[in-house]
């Protein structure tokens, strides 16, 4: 009578410490240029080597420019970090998907593409959105740099087992309501701290009906409700996505793996420490109005009122007013991309939507593919041509304006509608204001020049 989470976690405990954490074995480790250099440096100081180099893959994503990737990185510090990553991978024999290579991209986009992300695995990365990989029925979560060092040198971390939560979404999503709206809705109900201490399993018809891409969007943002991670039981959707991916088992091993994966889902009478149930038909296109991802409303609602000082501070920062509608607010920037919504399906949805429409000249729009593979497919499928016809262009892969470590920064005081996952003060650049939404809602703003319910544009 176990949950999928318990099954995976328990199978990876190397040692249980009384009144302390579990020593947990990590199957797959992902690293990038920002949170790994100090870990390598500490290892060097302690005289340690990487224990299992073939259980780590690396890619530079956070810092990289999204134009002219064939040229040296202009920003000196960014270049140094990327070079450090190259150097460390070389010294320690770690597989690197470097800038420009076939599988370069945001670490949480390339893992699934390569087929490295698989059901039943424990996966960690020095990045909170590692939760993305939970979409495959893996236990995946973000860790700090000290833990990156632990995984590199011992393939283990020490953590106390979180409690379990199940969020069930019954019914089907309405047209133009996407996985992003689903998760923004959930966070608005559960709050940004409601998941703290829990590992969340998403289930119910609306979740089952999501594609793998949609499931990744949902699990990606489970961290935004404070949860340690989120996951979804593997099923036929998962298996058909993984079949024939470069790193998935082949032949007899595939059948063996399938048998194991099919045993993973939570037992019917498994007990969760906490449960939430929602109805998919209550969900509309969502958008955030404040400075944390829990401050989301339906796009046709007005901005709420609260007399809490943190809430008031947040509205002041955003320049929005309680009681006013959010639709119609003028927009300066639109960002489509990130590990939340930078996958091929997102670009397909956007391209499909902009057909026959035109970009608004007042809005700067950055469309950034999550990976080289996504970029390639977007070209092959003719999506880029459609986007260009509507006045949009496709940049090169990376985290980009999601956290604005590269040059893709929203200027001070400007408002951006973004498909990424965080609307914190200054997240997209000092003084930048961010509203989170789905790719379709974001592109609607890029077409009209103001916050727009996509359903009104389609009519």
């Amino acid at each position: 009578m176990n949950t999928i989470f318990d099954k995976i976690w328990d199978a990876h405990i190397v040692r249980k410490i009384q009144v302390g954490p579990d020593v947990l074995f990590i199957d797959q480790h992902l690293i990038h240029e920002v949170t790994s250099p100090v870990a390598f440096l500490n290892m060097k100081q302690r005289g340690n080597k990487v224990l299992f180099p073939d259980r780590t893959i690396a890619t530079p994503d956070h810092n990289v420019p999204t134009i002219h990737q064939d040229q040296p990185i202009q920003d000196v510090e960014s270049r140094m970090q990327v070079e450090k990553l190259r150097e460390n991978c070389k010294i320690h024999n770690i597989e690197l998907h470097d800038l420009g290579s076939a599988h370069h991209g945001i670490v949480h986009v390339i893992g699934p593409e390569l087929g490295i992300t698989q059901p039943g695995k424990t996966i960690v990365c020095g990045d909170s959105h590692t939760s993305t990989h939970g979409a495959f029925g893996a236990v995946a979560f973000g860790i700090g740099t000290s833990e990156v060092e632990m995984v590199l040198s011992t393939q283990c971390i020490m953590q106390t087992k979180p409690k379990t939560m199940r969020i069930t979404v019954n019914g089907s999503l309405k047209p133009y309501v996407t996985a992003k709206d689903l998760i923004l809705y959930i966070i608005s109900k559960v709050s940004t701290s409601g998941g703290t201490g829990y590992f969340v399993e998403f289930s119910g018809q609306a979740v089952k009906e999501l594609s793998m891409e949609g499931r990744m969007t949902v699990c990606n943002m489970s961290i935004e409700m404070g949860a340690r991670g989120g996951l979804i039981a593997p099923d036929e959707t998962t298996f058909s996505y993984l079949k024939d991916k470069e790193r998935t088992p082949k032949g007899e091993n595939w059948h063996q793996a399938l048998m194991e994966w099919k045993n993973l889902p939570s037992d019917e009478n498994a007990v969760f420490d906490k449960e939430y149930v929602f109805d998919a038909t209550d969900i509309e296109p969502m958008i955030t109005f404040g400075t944390n991802p829990g401050m989301g409303i339906k796009i046709n609602e007005v901005i709420p009122t609260e007399d809490n000082p943190s809430f008031i501070k947040s509205l002041k920062y955003m320049g929005v007013v309680s009681g006013a509608p959010i639709e119609g607010i003028p927009v300066d920037f639109v960002f489509i991309g990130s590990c939340t919504n930078g996958r091929i399906e997102d670009l397909r949805a956007v391209a499909e939507f902009v057909k026959g429409k035109k970009k608004n000249d007042k809005v700067t729009t950055w469309i950034v593919p999550g990976s080289k593979e996504v970029e390639k497919m977007a070209h092959e499928e003719g999506l880029v041509a459609i986007l260009e016809q509507a006045g949009f262009e496709l940049r090169q892969p990376g985290c980009s304006a999601c956290l604005a470590m590269n040059d893709d920064k929203i200027p001070n005081g400007k408002l951006s509608v973004s498909t990424s996952n965080r609307n914190f003060e200054g997240r997209q650049g000092p003084g930048a204001k961010t509203m989170l939404a789905s790719p379709i809602t974001a592109i609607s703003a890029a077409i009209n020049g103001y916050i727009t319910d996509p359903r009104t544009l389609e009519k």
Partner: protein
Amino acid sequence: MAYDKFNIIIDSAVPMPVENVDTDQIIPARFLKATERKGFGDNLFRDWRYDSENKLIENFPLNDPKYNGKILVGGKNFGSGSSREHAVWAVYDYGFRVVVSSFFADIFKNNCLNIGVLPVTVSESFSLEIFEAIKKNPTTKLEINLPNQTITLLETGKSEAFQINSYKKENLLNGFDDVDYLLNMKEEIIAFSK
């Protein structure tokens, strides 16, 4: 890596009574470009300490000379957001050893314990009392007693117990970290991996 051992700290505190302080505020992303752990303290709460012209925002608590000490008292849901350990490095390197809040985000708390910052979770009412006491007297002292697991407002003697698992407590008292522990069980780990 090695940090100063933790035992009892008696000091004044810096108040930060804002809810949902996220790690992007504690250390903005543009300061994550270092390849060594150096200089993070200078950029702690950078965009709340300085305005867009790089001028000191005087009434921000860290800039206010009346507040001092190794203890940072934050509002509810402190440290949410990114897993960047840089946020805790900034807190430590600035000179804090303790962060007090009525609610911590998970990864932040974990990162604190890994580098020798003690996260102390107090009840909401006690957190308000602490803010009130500091407001009345900015030099009011708090005692953080790790061996006894208590936090005390010395002026009033009001005290509360806090939780920490005994493994992590031992680590902090001795300045050990998890890497040391794990390295000692390498053989066991290799056997497990097979």
